[in-house]
C-alpha cells in the first residue's frame, strides 16, 4: 500500500486517476480502517485529504454554507453559526459514534461509505445539501440524494472526490431536525431514521423536505410526506397524513434489529416527531 497526502483536491483526484490498483480516499478513516482491519478492503493506494486546506474549512454566511469534506463531526458541532442555522444536520452528524469517533468521522465519509443507515445522510438530503465533486479533469455539483446508488455503491467516478458539502441560504422562519431509533442510548446503528426540514410563512408550512434512513437500500426523499404538511399548521390530520406517506414509502429489510412491519410503522412515528421539532425550531406554534 502507498500513502499520499496531497495539498490540493485536484492532486488528490489525479492520484486516484493514475492508480491502477484499488485506491481509496481517507477522511476520518472510521469506516475505511475498520474495513482494512477486517480484510474487506485492501487498498493499493490511500489518499489522505486532511492536508488539503479547502477540505478543512467551514464557510457560513448569509448566502449559504460550505463544509469541507475533511471537517470532523466534533468540529461541526463546535461551529455556533451552523448549529444555529442547521441544528438537524449538526445533531445527525454528532450522533455518529463515540467522542473518539466524532474527532475523526466526516459527513462525506458517512455519505460515501453508502450505508443505508448512515446518520448524517437523511438530514443532509432533507436540508437540500449538494456535494461539490472534483475529478481529475472537471468539477460538478450534485444533490446529495444522487450520490448513493445502493448499499456500498456511489455514483462517483473512479477519479472523483467530494471536496465539500453546501447547504442553501437560510431564512428566519426555517427549522430542521433528525431523529433515529436505536435500541440503546448511544453507540448503535439506526433501525429507522427521519430528517425533516421546513420553512414557514405566516405560521403555515411553505416548503418541506422529508427523508427517511434505514428503511430502503438508500436514504429516500418522500415528496408525498412533504406535500401532506405544506399549507398546514402541522395539525394532527396533517401529521397523520405525513406518517402514512412515510410508512408507504418504506421498503425495508427484515432482520434481528427490526422487522419490516416495525420499521414501516416507526418510520411514520419518527417523521412526525421530527416534523414537530423542525416546526417548533422554525418558530411555529
Amino acid at each position: 500500500m502507498r500513502y499520499e497526502a496531497p495539498k490540493t483536491t485536484k492532486e488528490a483526484a489525479t492520484f486516484l486517476k493514475k492508480e491502477k490498483g484499488d485506491a481509496f480516499i481517507l477522511a476520518g478513516g472510521t469506516d475505511l480502517l475498520v474495513k482494512m482491519k477486517l480484510g474487506i478492503s485492501a487498498p493499493d493506494l490511500v489518499v489522505d485529504i486532511k492536508k488539503i486546506p479547502a477540505m478543512n474549512a467551514i464557510n457560513h454566511n448569509a448566502s449559504g454554507s460550505k463544509i469541507g469534506a475533511a471537517v470532523s463531526g466534533a468540529e461541526l458541532g463546535e461551529h455556533k453559526g451552523l448549529s444555529k442555522s442547521w441544528p438537524g444536520v449538526v445533531e445527525a452528524t454528532n450522533l455518529i459514534g463515540s467522542d473518539q469517533v466524532q474527532s475523526r468521522a466526516t459527513m462525506v465519509g458517512n455519505l460515501c461509505n453508502a450505508s443505508p443507515a448512515a446518520d448524517s445522510v437523511p438530514a443532509m438530503i432533507a436540508a437540500g445539501a449538494k456535494a461539490i465533486v472534483v475529478g481529475s479533469t472537471k468539477r460538478r455539483t450534485v444533490p446529495v440524494e444522487k450520490v448513493v446508488t445502493g448499499p456500498g455503491q456511489t455514483s462517483l467516478a473512479d477519479d472523483e472526490v467530494i471536496e465539500a458539502i453546501t447547504l442553501p441560504k437560510r431564512g428566519k422562519r426555517a427549522g430542521d431536525a433528525y431523529l433515529r431509533f436505536i435500541p440503546r442510548t448511544e453507540m448503535d446503528i439506526a433501525v429507522v431514521s427521519a430528517g425533516v426540514n421546513l420553512t414557514l410563512e405566516r405560521g403555515v408550512v411553505k416548503t418541506a423536505r422529508i427523508c427517511l434512513g434505514a428503511v430502503a437500500p438508500t436514504a429516500i426523499l418522500v415528496p408525498a410526506a412533504a406535500k401532506a404538511i405544506i399549507g398546514t399548521k402541522l395539525d394532527d390530520e396533517a401529521l397523520d397524513k405525513l406518517a402514512a406517506a412515510c410508512s408507504a414509502a418504506c421498503n425495508p429489510i427484515d432482520d434481528k434489529r427490526g422487522t419490516i412491519e416495525y420499521r414501516v410503522r416507526v418510520a411514520g412515528v419518527l417523521a412526525k416527531r421530527a416534523a414537530k421539532i423542525a416546526f417548533q425550531r422554525a418558530g411555529g406554534a
Binding site: M1, R2, Y3, G29, T30, P43, D99, V101, S103, M187
Partner: protein, 165 residues
C-alpha cells in the same frame, strides 16, 4: 514494500520512526515506540482501549494510520504522569477501585482526561456520554464514573488553591 518515515511529538518528546504505510498508530506506539499503555481490545473503534489524543482531540489509535501523525502532537496515558506523580484521575481510579484487570483503564483515563480538559465539572450524564466509547467488561461502569467525579472535584479544588496563591 516501502516504508514511511514519521516525525511526530509524543507526550511532548520528539519521536521518529519508520513503518509500513498501512500500520496503525496503535501498532507503532506499542511495537516501535515502546508505549504499551495503549491496548488493542477490538481494533475496530468499538472499545476505546487504544484511546489517545491527537492535537488535543480524543481518538482511537487503532483507526489512525501512523503516516497521518506526521508533525502532530500525540498524547498517551504515559504522558499523564507528571514528575513521577500519578495524575489525580489515576489516583482516583485506584482509591475508588475503578479497575480490575486493567486492560480498559488507560483508555478510560485518556478519555476522562480529555473530558475534564473541556469540562472541568461534568454531570454524571455528561461523564457517561463522554465515556460511551470505552468498554469495560470486569469492573462495571458505576465505579469508573464515580472515580471521574471524585477526580474532577479534587482537580477543581487544586486549581482554586493555585489560583489563590
Amino acid at each position: 514494500m516501502s516504508s514511511v518515515l514519521v516525525s511526530t511529538t509524543i507526550n511532548g518528546d520528539p519521536v521518529e520512526f519508520a513503518c509500513p504505510p498501512e500500520e496503525t498508530l496503535l501498532d507503532s506506539l506499542r511495537d516501535r515506540v515502546g508505549l504499551t499503555g495503549v491496548k488493542e481490545g477490538c481494533g475496530t473503534g468499538d472499545c476505546g482501549s487504544c484511546s489517545v489524543t491527537l492535537d488535543g482531540r480524543l481518538m482511537c489509535s487503532c483507526l489512525v494510520l501512523s503516516a497521518e501523525v506526521e508533525g502532530k502532537q500525540v498524547g498517551t496515558v504515559e504522558g499523564m504522569v507528571q514528575n513521577g506523580q500519578l495524575h489525580p484521575l489515576q489516583e482516583s481510579f485506584i482509591d475508588n477501585a475503578a479497575l480490575q484487570c486493567g486492560i480498559c483503564t488507560p483508555g478510560f483515563l485518556v478519555a476522562a482526561n480529555a473530558l475534564l480538559a473541556r469540562n472541568a465539572n461534568p454531570t454524571e450524564t455528561e461523564i457517561r456520554y463522554a465515556l460511551a466509547g470505552n468498554l469495560c467488561r470486569c469492573t462495571g461502569y458505576d465505579k469508573i464514573v464515580r472515580a471521574v467525579q471524585v477526580a474532577s472535584k479534587e482537580m477543581r479544588k487544586k486549581s482554586k488553591k493555585t489560583k489563590k496563591k
